[in-house]
């Protein structure tokens, strides 16, 4: 029953991703890449997914056409013509949906400058409008999860329980990587879960929906759109907006590690200097 869900398709295309390409391979000229892309676009694609994307033949919307131009300029070298992916360079974007594009491009993770353990967040290279256009294009060529329209947070006045429910979901699903205080955390071998301190509701929603990098996918059947909104409400109200009631400095909310540093750097240092003064010759 699961054999042909969008998720499964995504699984198949994602698994094509390999490790970093060899130096030699990167040196292959544009012509060879073009040839490969053409071959993919022309033959393999249609052979593999016959009739799955009937909408391919429908003309692109205006936004998507603008997105296609941007895509052909900046993304095509790795993700291939029409987002088919390039072996050992970049995965296919068929089925990843606009949510994924809005997250990856909107946070500057894409375009990647180089292959590394994990795409790093950078200053975005496209304006929000351009990002939306690329997202629209990718959505129209392959379908996939989308960020829903409308508010992504709950109105706490109308729905005061949303905060506590969001907190519970956050602790069950998110804290193991992003930590109780949303400060993020290390994963294996140089990978990491980023801090949630400056994540926008759209980014959080898209990340849950699409599982970027090594983050697991939290589809709508697992965490419903309402629950996602509750989680975002918790992150926004509790982690991002609320000033810490316990002090001017929250020590990064890294827990006992920074508290231990503080007691030596501040407590012990002040008191050692005090005792130096007490016993010093006047």
């Amino acid at each position: 029953m699961t054999s042909d869900t969008p998720a499964r398709r995504r699984a198949r295309v994602f698994s094509r991703r390999r490790g970093a390409p060899s130096r030699a391979r990167r040196r292959i000229g544009a012509a060879v890449r073009m040839l490969a892309a053409l071959a993919l676009a022309g033959g393999v694609y249609t052979a593999f997914t016959p009739g799955a994307f009937a909408e391919d033949n429908t003309p692109l919307s205006t936004a998507a056409q603008q997105g296609k131009e941007l895509f052909d300029n900046s993304c095509i070298s790795c993700h291939g013509r029409d987002g088919q992916g390039v072996e050992a360079r970049g995965p296919s974007l068929i089925g990843v949906g606009s949510a994924s594009v809005e997250f990856q491009v909107g946070t500057g993770r894409m375009p990647m400058t180089r292959q590394e353990a994990q795409a790093e967040q950078k200053a975005p290279q496209f304006t929000p409008d351009e990002t939306k256009q690329i997202a629209q294009y990718v959505q129209e060529i392959g379908g996939g999860p989308e960020i829903p329209a409308g508010e992504l947070t709950e109105d706490l006045k109308a729905n005061p329980d949303a905060l506590a429910r969001g907190g519970e979901l956050f602790r069950v699903n998110c804290t193991s990587c992003h930590s109780f205080g949303g400060a993020g955390g290390a994963l294996s071998s140089g990978k990491f879960a980023p801090s949630l301190g400056d994540a926008t509701p759209e980014e959080i929603y898209a990340a849950m929906l699409t599982g970027p990098q090594n983050m697991p996918v939290f589809g709508d059947n697992q965490i419903s759109p309402d629950e996602k909104r509750e989680i975002i409400t918790y992150i926004q109200t509790q982690i991002q907006e609320d000033k810490d009631p316990g002090g001017v400095f929250n020590l990064g909310r890294y827990g006992p590690a920074t508290e231990g540093v503080a007691i030596f750097l501040i407590g012990i240092t002040i008191l050692v200097f005090t005792s130096l003064w007490i016993a010093g010759k006047s």
Partner: protein, 365 residues
């Protein structure tokens, strides 16, 4: 004794009316084997400008201390302190208390210290230690006295008494310890099916019916609730299954991608005692969330590398190799929960974990 002792001071008659108070203090010091060798004012003459300045500074510190103590009191009473969401004045309640009390106390401390350091006369005193051990005679006397006490009791001469004391007091000592030890000791293996070896997924906890996998709110889970590349923390679908009563039961249900699932199936079926054969359902696999090292929830699932990281001691388990530990201090694979789907289309555990869940211990089979 030593060169300093009594070198400068002779005993004086403390009732002599001509003596000043300091003379009497010095006589006390002499009796305590102390000699003041430097004792001079830090200022040039009384009421020097420098002295006045120091007195002014110290007075200022005392007043500062009082002022901030008042700030503390006033803010303690009037500052809004009830917690409110968002960025409000109440966020500064604790900082204001801390800063005002901190400055008040620190200023008081510095005032007292400056008084001792700057106003009191500079002093060097020497006291003799008298750290010598007791004389041999004293030691002998004490030792012999102690021995004589033993002689007086005559335990050595009265063997019956010696035996009776031993036999009488030892049980009493044990009796005193018994309630503490006896009250605390619990046989971890007392039940026919000790909980240590079983979790909430054991059908026995559910009246011999297979136990469903549920979310923390108790709702059962369908296969398409978890997307490929996704994972979900699941609990046994028995009353209280998500509470700490079943602290060993939390399990991670993972929906692998097709080729990863294939690798996992090969690895799991190839497990040398064969107990994981057929335990996966489709591309779904469930492993205990409780780390086999120290029992933390190993739940940092990396969906592309298929590693599961434990945040406490960084043990890493490779899911596609049947949760084999590949890094860190863990030694044992995470136990796998055998999965199936019941008639209504919800996940169930076909049996309990085939291996003991949680950290290792001495007699774990």
């Amino acid at each position: 004794m030593t060169a300093h002792h009594g070198a400068t001071a002779e005993p004086v008659d403390v009732n002599d009316p001509k003596l000043t108070r300091f003379d009497i203090v010095k006589e006390g010091l002499r009796r305590d084997d102390i000699e003041i060798i430097t004792y001079e004012s830090q200022f040039q003459g009384p009421n020097s400008k420098a002295e006045k300045r120091v007195v002014r500074n110290i007075s200022f510190l005392f007043l500062l201390s009082g002022l901030f103590a008042l700030v503390f009191l006033v803010s303690y009473i009037v500052w809004p302190w009830k917690f409110e969401l968002g960025h409000t004045l109440s966020d500064y309640y604790t900082p204001i208390l801390g800063v005002s009390l901190g400055i008040s106390l620190f200023a008081l401390g510095i005032a007292i210290l400056a008084w001792a350091k700057k106003l009191l006369p500079h002093e060097v005193s020497i006291q003799q230690r008298h750290g010598d051990p007791s004389s041999d005679d004293e030691r002998l006397i004490t030792g012999q006295t102690a021995m004589y006490v033993a002689d007086e009791l005559g335990v050595a001469r009265r063997p019956l008494l010696k035996g009776a004391i031993g036999l009488g007091l030892a049980p009493l000592g044990l009796a005193a310890a018994a309630p503490l030890v006896g009250g605390l000791i619990q046989n971890p293996h007392r039940d026919a099916e000790p909980m240590m070896y079983h979790t909430g997924f054991d059908p026995k906890t559910n009246g011999d019916k297979l136990v469903r996998l549920t979310r923390d709110d108790g709702s059962p889970i369908r296969p398409d609730d978890v997307s490929a590349g996704g994972q979900m923390t699941v609990y046994p679908g028995v009353p209280g299954g998500a509470t700490n009563k079943f602290a060993d039961s939390p399990t991670l249900l993972i929906h692998l991608r097709a080729d990863d699932a294939e690798k996992t199936r090969v690895a799991a079926d190839g497990d040398k005692n064969g107990r994981n054969k057929g335990s996966m359902w489709g591309n779904y696999v469930a492993y205990s969330k409780i780390c086999t090292h120290a029992g933390c929830p190993a739940s940092l699932y990396e969906q592309q590398t298929n590693r599961l990281l434990c945040p406490c001691h960084q043990s890493q388990f490779l899911i596609t190799d049947n949760a084999q530990p590949i890094f860190g201090p863990a030694t044992r694979r995470l136990p796998m929960l055998p999965l199936s789907v019941d008639d209504e289309g919800f996940f169930v555990a076909t049996s309990d974990f085939k291996d003991t869940v949680g950290p290792d211990f001495w007699e774990r089979p």
